[in-house]
């Protein structure tokens, strides 16, 4: 039960990144899976570099696709995903790597420390975003205007391009960091991230049906899906 709870937290936060990219940056970011895998491979060296690399890829994605429409930007993200995957294959040669992990006990439950840390970071991310969503500061209103129509947002005096860059950088950095933590203790290969990306995309798609309530309902949706699976 406790591992279900932690998984749901992690997937909800990943789905939040997917949803934000889709609604604000107008791209179904298919490179998230490879960024997640990249995090796993980078964690071999240090966990601290994962968000930096993730952020760089997010920025690259933004710069490369900022003049594209949604379909082309998504194709571009798929190209980036495969490029990262291939780069990992070339750099690491050995297809499968077992990542180290630390075990600890939490109220009698045996847990992987890195997974616990990933879920705590995810919980913090979700709580912060939920507060942002419910309190509706002016920046949240700006984000809502961008979500509806970029052209209108520009007429409202909002820098939609900057918001897009921020969303892509933060979400990519987050995916990369969580990848570094959550893949600990597992045998990883360059294609492992696809599963996590598809699962997050699935949760985000279901939550997206609830339109304005999507962000609030991400966590219950994630619980439901994780429980069913």
């Amino acid at each position: 039960m406790i591992s279900l709870f932690f998984s749901a937290l992690i997937y909800a936060s990943l789905a939040l990144c997917v949803l934000l990219s889709y609604r604000v940056a107008k791209v179904v970011n298919l490179s998230f899976g490879s960024i997640f895998t990249l995090g796993g491979y980078l964690s071999v060296f240090s966990l601290f570099i994962t968000p930096i690399f993730g952020a760089w890829i997010g920025l690259l994605l933004h710069i490369g696709s900022k003049r594209m429409d949604a379909s082309k930007a998504t194709i571009f993200s798929l190209g980036i995903a495969i490029a990262i995957e291939e780069a990992l294959r070339i750099l690491f040669r050995v297809e499968n790597i077992l990542l180290d992990s630390r075990i600890f006990y939490f109220f009698g439950y045996k847990l992987v420390f890195e997974h616990f840390l990933a879920s705590m970071i995810s919980a913090t991310f979700l709580i912060l975003f939920l507060a942002f969503e419910l309190k509706k500061p002016f920046s949240r209103l700006k984000l809502k205007v961008i979500e509806e129509d970029i052209e209108n947002a520009e007429l409202y005096g909002i820098d939609a391009e900057k918001a897009r860059a921020i969303v892509l950088v933060i979400s990519s950095a987050f995916f990369c960091s969580i990848g570094g933590l959550y893949l600990s203790g597992r045998v990883i290969s360059p294609t492992i991230g696809w599963l996590y990306m598809i699962f997050s995309l699935f949760i985000a798609t279901i939550a997206n049906v609830f339109r304005e309530k999507a962000y609030i309902l991400l966590l219950p949706t994630s619980f439901g899906v994780c429980w069913l699976v």
Binding site: V28, A70, G79, I80, I82, I90, T191, W194, I198, L201
Partner: protein, 280 residues
């Protein structure tokens, strides 16, 4: 014009030459050939119907699995249309990604397909057919597929299909019921992809979950991008990807993915993607 003729001649040479070469080259050529049929099936869906699928491995892989489990099941392969067609409810702009995500989902699901104690990650053994025979069958099917598509595309029926592609509402206004044309177009494309899948299984005598991997899902898109959407050039594109990948893989692991990445990034900058968008 001269380039076009040269490409056709080159394709014909590529089709005939392996007959006189060793088994290894013939196997490689047969693999490229099945993937060329696969690309032709994808091109028909994209060019004549306006639906760019990034999950064409669905009919390809499902049919290969059906054939491997029981060769008699190959007659059900046209039904794979009903796996791909429902995704069209997402609309033309989302369909490529919906189909891609579904194919990745099947890729993972295929790891859990077990029948009579076989399958799983190992996959299934498929009935193996003599390489010379299967090569000749593949060449015949490729030529017949091209002829079929050319014939349909230029028929009165094909015109109606294109009218539906260009503007469904306008097509309805002139009395064309779009649904049967869409289903029929999907059925032709999926049936050809299924044949390619079956041939692929028969050539290698084995089917694994890899038939649903992004390698197969994206293959026709990449080949068509290299061939700039023209049928003969795209066949040549298929051969290029297969041969380059085969020869360079010892130096760069899974080299085809490097080609894929470049093709996808370039396609997003040019008009190679969503060619059928021109009149939608």
């Amino acid at each position: 014009m001269l380039v076009s003729i040269a490409i056709r001649i080159l394709v014909l040479v590529l089709l005939i030459l392996p007959v006189f070469l060793d088994c290894y080259t013939k196997l490689l050529a047969a693999s490229a050939l099945t993937l060329a049929i696969f690309t032709v099936s994808w091109l028909y869906l994209e060019k004549d119907l306006g639906w760019a699928s990034l999950g064409h491995s669905i009919p390809f892989g499902v049919s290969a699995y059906l054939f491997a489990i029981n060769p008699l099941l190959l007659f059900f392969s046209p039904l794979t249309t009903f796996l791909l067609f429902p995704l069209s409810i997402f609309g033309k702009h989302t369909f490529p990604f919906a189909s891609f995500v579904f194919s990745v989902f099947l890729w993972y699901l295929a790891h859990h397909i077990v029948f009579e104690g076989k399958g799983g990650e190992e996959g299934f053994r498929a009935p193996s057919i003599n390489l010379d025979l299967i090569y000749l069958i593949s060449v015949t099917i490729l030529i017949l597929s091209c002829l079929l598509i050319w014939k349909i595309s230029n028929s009165y029926f094909g015109l109606k299909v294109k009218a539906v592609r260009d503007d469904e509402i306008a097509a309805k206004a002139i009395g064309i019921n779009s649904l049967p044309f869409k289903v029929f177009g999907f059925a032709i494309s999926c049936s050809l992809a299924s044949i390619a899948g079956i041939l692929h299984a028969a050539i290698f005598g084995h089917v694994s979950p890899g038939v649903f991997s992004p390698y197969f899902s994206l293959f026709p898109f990449v080949a068509a991008t290299i061939g700039q959407g023209k049928i003969w050039s795209s066949i040549l594109g298929s051969y290029t990807v297969v041969f380059l990948s085969w020869f360079l893989s010892p130096y760069v692991p899974e080299f085809h993915y490097a080609i894929y990445a470049v093709a996808l990034i370039l396609a997003s900058y040019t008009q190679s993607y969503a060619r059928s968008d021109r009149s939608v």
